[in-house]
């Protein structure tokens, strides 16, 4: 499946999105370079995007001006042996009186212009540019500006200077993304034998391929013999007819700037954001386990209280209203009495910070370093505030167990049993008193099987009361355990809500922005 590269307008839209997302996420200088490309694209496209600007660039003495004259078929540019020869940029165009050409050349800051050069193809603007490597360093700035702005770059080199560092490291090696609009002309081949010229061209081709300029065209030329000049003219005519060089050059700019931005965004997937770990760590910092345990204790006490049978309740009431000594005893047990004021929850800031650092660390480990600080910033700039928020959320979770409908039933049942035992006891007591007073019993009490009824009531009641008491404690413990689980779940949910809002959502948003940037840059580099 051949994936066609996206057209320029789509790429520019993507670049706009990158510029928006990249704010504070990509190094400012690189983002500025990307913005400059975006602005340049607007500037170029608003000045005759159907025109094609081709510039002859290269070192001093490589024969740019001679080639310019040969292509324009006239002595427009002065040539000479004194180096450097060309002082300012010079333009020639077939028409060139038009306002579009004028605006374009104004933007390119080319002072010397030749209109009506019939030898040049329609809609082509040909530039002769000063050298980039002579002692006249003022020329270099002119070259740099034009290399940035023209559509087709025709690099003119000669057999002596084709391997110069200033050419390759200074320019060609950075133009890999622009290979489509780069033409390298090996000029002055007449100085070599045919065989040497081939060897020389092959060596140059190897250098270009090594710089990623495989797609760049290479032409041997000689102005003196005319060799290769028609081929160069044909090539320029094709470019002029296609009228796409400006767009292709800008696509190259976008691709190359995307490649520059890519290391800031990175290729790797972000590490996992393990929600449960973050929530557990925050909950741990807030001592949620202790809070749940307290809730369990209180729930158990409340259940016991709710299921307390009548007589025991009376006993307690006596104790409560009882003598001074008992009150003192009760005061010594202040911490277990149900309904004691709840301590305000408190989250340990160190634990909170640590939880955040761990979460960010895992996410950011595969990412470029900038993202670590970025994630730190969005997730954890205010650990103390987060600690307070977590504590607040814990505080809002109700801990008190609701009263159960069956508590009074159990209490009533146990009360009934206690009552039955009491009735049996009183009855037996009455019988005993009657017997002691030698009063005749009216009739023998009814019997349950072999056991007389009062005895059965007392003993059976006591036995059932003991069993019921154990059951009551068992029920209270089970209720409390269930309550603890529910409270623990509620507490975790509350912590999770805070974590979601203050930590997880910002981290996810940041990672989402990064994923989008990464996808955009991949598309832009393609």
């Amino acid at each position: 499946v051949s994936r066609r590269p996206a057209p320029l307008p789509d790429r520019l839209a993507d670049l706009d999105r990158v510029l928006a997302l990249g704010q504070d996420r990509i190094a400012a200088d690189r983002l500025a370079a990307a913005r400059a490309v975006r602005e340049k694209a607007d500037a170029r496209l608003s000045r005759g995007d159907a025109l094609v600007v081709a510039a002859l660039v290269g070192g001093t003495g490589s024969g740019k001006s001679s080639l310019f004259n040969a292509l324009a078929d006239g002595d427009l540019a002065p040539v000479g042996v004194r180096r450097p020869t060309t002082e300012t940029a010079r333009a020639a165009a077939a028409d060139g009186d038009g306002p579009e050409v004028g605006a374009l050349l104004d933007w390119l800051e080319v002072p010397q212009r030749h209109a009506g050069v019939r030898a040049l193809p329609e809609s082509l603007v040909l530039l002769d540019v000063p050298d980039h490597d002579s002692v006249a360093t003022a020329h270099h700035a002119v070259v740099d500006r034009l290399v940035e702005r023209v559509d087709v770059l025709v690099w003119v080199v000669d057999p002596i200077k084709y391997a110069m560092r200033a050419l390759h490291e200074g320019y060609l090696a950075r133009l890999a993304a622009h290979a489509e609009v780069v033409v390298v002309v090996l000029n002055r081949v007449d100085e070599l034998s045919a065989e040497d010229a081939r060897a020389c061209a092959a060596d140059l081709r190897g250098l270009l391929d090594g710089e990623g300029l495989t797609a760049a065209r290479l032409l041997p030329t000689s102005v003196r013999t005319g060799h290769g000049v028609p081929a160069l003219r044909d090539l320029l005519r094709e470019e002029a007819a296609a009228r796409s060089a400006a767009a292709r050059r800008l696509v190259g700019d976008v691709r190359s700037v995307a490649a520059e931005l890519a290391p800031d965004v990175g290729d790797a997937e972000a590490g996992p954001l393990v929600v449960d770990d973050v929530v557990a760590a925050l909950a741990g910092a807030a001592g949620v386990g202790g809070v749940a345990a307290t809730a369990q204790d209180e729930s158990r006490a409340a259940a016991l209280e709710g299921m307390r049978p009548l007589l025991s309740r009376g006993g307690l009431a006596v104790a409560r209203g009882g003598p001074e000594l008992l009150r003192q005893v009760r005061d010594l047990l202040p911490l277990r009495s149900p309904g004691r004021p709840r301590a305000a929850a408190h989250a340990d800031p160190v634990g909170v910070r640590h939880a955040l650092a761990e979460a960010v660390d895992r996410c950011a480990a595969p990412l470029p370093p900038r993202w670590r600080s970025r994630l730190d910033e969005v997730a954890g700039s205010d650990a103390a505030g987060l600690a307070r928020a977590v504590a607040g959320a814990v505080d809002r979770v109700p801990l008190r167990a609701p009263a159960r409908w069956w508590w009074p039933a159990v209490a009533a049942l146990l009360s009934a049993v206690e009552l039955a035992a009491a009735v049996g006891a009183v009855w037996l007591l009455v019988l005993a008193v009657l017997g002691w007073l030698q009063l005749p019993a009216q009739e023998p009490p009814a019997a349950v099987g072999a056991v007389p009824l009062p005895t059965a009531l007392l003993l059976g009641g006591l036995a059932v009361r003991v069993l019921g008491g154990a059951l009551r404690r068992r029920l209270a413990a089970a209720t409390a355990a269930r309550h603890r689980r529910r409270v623990a779940a509620d507490l975790l949910a509350a912590v999770r809500e805070v974590a979601e809002a203050r930590v997880l959502a910002p981290i996810r948003a940041e990672l989402g922005a990064r994923d989008e940037l990464r996808a955009l840059l991949v598309a832009l580099r393609r």
Partner: protein
């Protein structure tokens, strides 16, 4: 060519000394010391410029080596280096001078990648072999040698000098055909730079097309600054353009501060077998022959040497800057690590004040226990005389339960404090990593050992051991202090253990933490604990013991933090420069200046 065979030197060492040509002994020693000082710094700090700085240093060392050789043997053959851009015709002229193809020529640029040395057969001893009869290193000591007889295997590239002797070269002169200074091959440029540093005379090649190149002119500017003996060969000039180009070249040379430089024109002629016709180089050959005269030789060499020595300080300045930068980076990294780790005890202390997340149910159970009258009774029984069997029986049961809860509490405290210590240390390490990542060299160090982002994995265990030792220390302290309270033997240990646990808990919240925590479990715990302690030990003792406990805990945490800090310190120390490396170089440079006065 003789390899290390004995050769007839032009002058014996004794002769030279007698002729007064041996420079001051002091200068030689100063140069030796300078070399040692330059070699000393390892330049290990991974700054972005580290590779460049090391290259710079290597080049300075090579240059000083060249000076040492020159100072030692002022009578040695003059070394004239053919330098210039690629395609300037250096090798073609060299071949033409000796009348045979000894250096590679061709259309592929750059052509020359390893230097060729042309010399008179009688001078071979100066340049071949590892050392001369006196055991001194040869000129160009850092290079291997190859000879025409070596065949293909000998034609290596790179740091190899091809030595060719020829009677066409006058005795007292050696010509070195160097690689280019301006092609894409970085190793060629480095090699050429080194050879030019070692040269007594530069013979600089330009062509009609390249004479205005900025890359070449930078070298000529350097030669002007250093007063290097220099001649320019203008090659491949058509006769008709010669006057105009020579005039323009002279203007440009004058503009760079080289008004009086000799310019030799080699006209553009067809080559034959890679050589120019003899008439094209007659003038150049005559000039070179003039260099070989003993007086001229000495003059040229002294000029170049003086200029180079004058320029040494300027040449070493970037290295000194690099060393200063290393020291700055290292100081910054150290300061960042120290700031983070020094803050650990404070952070830990603050966290204790704010109340660490002790599992409250355990503390509550303890507090219940301490708060009950049963326990108070127990304490009473421990402090008062025996109260009878009933109380004893009750106390025995109580004491077993107390022991169980006490152990739970101490384990919980140990866990919590150890956890807190690990977290605080983790955060400190993360802070160091964040601070270091802001610096390119620091980022390299962190990336090299990602473990530096966190506390050491065994810190938890070490922290727990420290906390247990701390608890032990409190028990002993209370045992010592409690003795005076006349505890009865039977309950002494129970009471002391209980008091120790109370003190351990009190350390969390006794020094003001109470204000931060509202009424509740913690306050209750603190209150009950304090009450128990006061009952056992008396108020003054308690205050003293609690202070001691807190200080001891912080001291232990500080020790742990110092151990963790050591890892970051070691990471920096491994690359940190020896202190005073820059000063040693500065001193050695000053000594060279003094020796030349």
């Amino acid at each position: 060519v003789r390899r290390s065979a004995p050769v007839a030197l032009p002058f014996g060492p004794a002769d030279r000394r007698a002729r007064g040509h041996v420079l001051d002994e002091e200068l030689r020693e100063a140069l030796d010391a300078l070399r040692d000082a330059l070699v000393a710094p390892a330049l290990d700090v991974p700054t972005p410029t580290r590779a460049a700085d090391r290259d710079l240093r290597d080049r300075l060392v090579a240059e000083v080596d060249a000076h040492r050789a020159r100072v030692r043997d002022l009578d040695a053959p003059l070394l004239a280096v053919f330098g210039g851009g690629t395609g300037a015709g250096k090798s073609t002229v060299a071949n033409s001078l000796v009348g045979q193809s000894v250096a590679a020529t061709g259309v592929i640029r750059p052509t020359t990648s390893s230097p060729t040395l042309l010399l008179a057969p009688s001078d071979a001893g100066w340049f071949t072999g590892a050392a001369d009869a006196d055991g001194r290193e040869r000129v160009l000591a850092g290079y291997a040698r190859s000879f025409p007889g070596d065949g293909v295997a000998g034609r290596q590239t790179g740091r190899v000098v091809h030595v060719v002797d020829s009677h066409a070269i006058p005795p007292g002169l050696a010509i070195l055909d160097a690689p280019d200074v301006d092609s894409v091959r970085a190793e060629n440029r480095a090699l050429a730079d080194e050879l030019l540093d070692a040269a007594d005379v530069w013979v600089w090649f330009v062509t009609a097309r390249t004479y205005a190149d900025e890359e070449g002119m930078r070298y000529l500017r350097r030669a002007a600054r250093r007063r290097t003996a220099l001649a320019v060969v203008l090659n491949q000039v058509h006769e008709r353009d010669a006057d105009e180009i020579v005039a323009d070249l002279r203007d440009k040379l004058a503009a760079e501060g080289l008004p009086d430089v000799a310019v030799h024109v080699v006209p553009h002629t067809a080559t034959q077998a890679g050589r120019l016709p003899d008439r094209a180089i007659t003038e150049l050959r005559r000039w070179l022959r003039g260099l070989a005269e003993p007086d001229a030789r000495l003059r040229w060499r002294r000029q170049t040497l003086d200029g180079a020595l004058d320029d040494l300080e300027r040449g070493a300045a970037p290295l000194l800057d690099a060393l200063r930068e290393e020291e700055r980076v290292v100081a910054d990294l150290r300061a960042a690590a120290a700031a983070a780790w020094d803050a650990v005890p404070v952070r830990f202390d603050t966290a204790l004040e704010e109340g660490p997340p002790l599992r409250q149910e355990i503390v509550a159970r303890w507090t219940d226990f301490v708060g009950t009258n049963r326990f108070t009774d127990l304490v009473e029984s421990a402090t008062a005389s025996v109260r009878g069997w009933l109380r004893d029986a009750m106390a025995t049961r109580t004491s077993a339960e107390q022991e169980r809860i006490r152990r739970q509490v101490e384990a919980e405290v140990a866990d919590t404090i150890a956890d807190l210590a690990v977290r605080v240390a983790d955060l400190a390490a993360a802070d160091v990593a964040a601070a270091w990542s802001g610096d390119p060299a620091g980022a390299v160090l962190v990336d090299a050992d990602p473990g530096l982002r966190r506390a050491r994995p065994d810190l938890g265990e070490r922290a727990e051991a420290e906390v247990l030792a701390w608890q032990q220390g409190i028990s002993e302290l209370i045992a010592t202090k409690g003795e005076s309270r006349k505890l009865t033997a039977r309950w002494a240990s129970t009471a002391i253990n209980a008091a120790a646990t109370a003190a351990i808990l009190a350390a969390f919240a006794s020094t003001g933490g109470l204000t931060g925590i509202e009424a509740g479990i913690a306050a209750g715990a603190a209150g009950a604990n304090q009450a128990l302690l006061v009952k056992l030990l008396g108020e003054q003792q308690v205050a003293w013991i609690l202070r001691r406990a807190r200080e001891d805990l912080l001291a232990r945490i500080t020790r742990l933090s110092t151990e963790e800090h050591a890892r970051h310190r070691a990471a920096v120390d491994a690359v940190a420069p020896e202190p005073g490396a820059g000063d040693a170089i500065r001193d050695a440079l000053a000594a060279v200046t003094r020796a030349r006065r």
